[in-house]
Symmetry: C3
């Protein structure tokens, strides 16, 4: 499948994403393109890492995931092409791939050094266009990752924030706030399972004691509820409302799940 | 034509729409995708119904219209596949198809019950991904609607707000405010025709007496004007400005067209 | 390459862009579509002209560039199809093509008068759908520009604001503010070269004396820096911040580059 997915912090106000797509289709006219999101907050590597982790596995096997969240553009940070059993990933070496790669079987990683896969002259401010898009085009039409540059063994990683289990409670943190204001945490069903089948209560910031339910409407309109969301993580929502705004939740905020009775 | 159009209230900040597209292309790699809009206000079934009605007829015959405005996700509301002479529609059974289907010749309606066309395990919060996208993929590659589940005869409808004709005036309501702030009503040219060829004046909220013209620039900059808009309905605009903001117009507001002299 | 790029001021809140795409695929099912931007400020012909100039050359040879920034829709302004050595352009005759055409070898210009390439009845408010999209579809599938209407020799132009060179300084203006708040000027590297290799200092509005550097991080976080941006023009940025907001910069503001010592 010749498909390139795109995650960037470029927004859609300007022509930046369109130009990347133009370059991909210039080199690989048959490639399909899917926008995953272009609204990563500018330079927010953790938000990009979470978006990629939450979405990449739903794309066809063989897809190329192009991730340009690149606050260090123009500095000496490397560009990467990562091949796993299922996908290819193209991104700056700044940790943005870390969380997605936890669920992938790694094959090989190459640094992007071959000038044949660049748009010359390479600018200092838009490697998405000048380096990453041409590389994604090359991989999407079946080009080999070896041609792109030397194999490397170590890349920059950002640690996955593992939930912590204490006596009768588990603590974690908010990782991402979505468009609806749902505050998504790092607590997944496996880790919640270790708390056993007892009644659980969630605390986070102004949220004093919010129940876990299977869907948003399980609580009255306007009330907070914790739900195992579609990405597999516990999220705090407000039925019919915006939890992040109403409860002041943001990425980095602690969250705790407490066993009751 | 293997084409799926998408209308959702998911926004484009997150990866939700991209993941639906990934699943469609996984099952139907040749299918083309067109975003109609993802900015339906969260859960606003009437806005989704209007957007679908205004847009669907411009797509190629045979297109599948995938509409996910789904405030009841996770509850027991059904999913629907509707086949008409020209198109297929895939949506929750909450009325969002009602206004588009008024202009279609209905062939058959099926409930989405066949687990073969689902992404298991089905989540409680994202049926767009787990149910509706796989069904749209199936239909777009020519799959039969019968396989999706039992035929049904009745679906939830929301009534089309018919304009009311009084002696020398016609009353209706604002149904949709577009990006430019134009406030689109339910009064179409056919219903306005019943008022005859006399001079007509529009009233709505703060709009005391605004003329009907054939284009926005027919009034001085900054002034209100009513125009038969591109969707076929009378809309209130401000030449060079935002009518909804300037005049405080919103969906549900009454509008009246009065015959003069 | 059957490819249509789109620049509009329609936004993505409504179905307007999707409907244009539907009509293109109805007439030209194989055509690929690339959104360059739909967030041109409503009616802002100069912003549209800049976006097109900055982006069009990155698309495959043979692409059709469809530009609908059309404040005069419904008036008597003409529609245009312009063929250059590399591309076709479809737009209203209001100057929006002016700056892109400066870099193109012109072949022929035709007025859009042939009703065979229109969606009848043509509305007064949405020529993007009724005139420009059908024409773009025709050209993208290899149709001849001659069929569209009579050849014309003169079109409306907006002047490119040439930088002015004084003794030891060069003056220009801000032309575009991008999503990151970078304020892009009309000063390119060729014109800056005429100032010689001396140390240069940039002034604009509240910016008293900002250095020119090769990337944003060359100055401490929060400070202003001028960089030759990815479109080839000098832009004023704030490292890690929004220059337009912090420094009150907007299109039309004067900018000066002064030689030091």
């Amino acid at each position: 499948m010749a498909l390139v997915s795109l995650i960037t912090d470029f927004g859609t106000q300007d022509w930046f994403v369109g130009v990347m797509k133009g370059l991909i289709l210039r080199a690989a006219p048959e490639t399909r393109l899917i926008d995953l999101t272009h609204e990563i907050p500018p330079g927010d590597i953790r938000a990009g890492a979470f978006a990629l982790m939450a979405s990449c596995r739903f794309l066809p096997r063989g897809s190329v995931h192009l991730v340009v969240v690149d606050p260090g553009v123009g500095s000496s940070r490397r560009g990467l092409a990562v091949q796993t059993e299922e996908y290819s990933f193209v991104a700056p070496d700044n940790g943005v791939l870390s969380w997605a790669l936890r669920n992938q079987r790694l094959r090989t990683i190459h640094a992007l050094e071959n000038p044949a896969y660049r748009l010359e002259p390479v600018s200092n401010t838009f490697h998405g266009r000048d380096i990453f898009a041409p590389v994604a085009a090359h991989l999407s039409r079946g080009g080999s990752v070896e041609e792109l540059g030397p194999e490397i063994k170590e890349i920059l990683q950002i640690a996955w924030p593992e939930p912590r289990l204490e006596l009768d409670r588990m603590t974690g943190e908010i990782l991402y706030v979505d468009r609806f204001g749902n505050a998504i945490s790092n607590l997944d069903s496996a880790s919640l399972g270790t708390l056993g089948p007892k009644r659980l209560i969630v605390r986070a910031h102004k949220v004093r004691a919010c129940p876990i339910a299977t869907y948003y409407q399980a609580v009255p309109a306007g009330e907070a509820v914790a739900v195992l969301g579609s990405s597999g993580f516990l999220e705090i929502a407000v039925n019919g409302g915006n939890a992040a705004q109403r409860l002041g939740l943001k990425p980095g905020d602690p969250i705790a799940v407490q066993r009751q009775g």
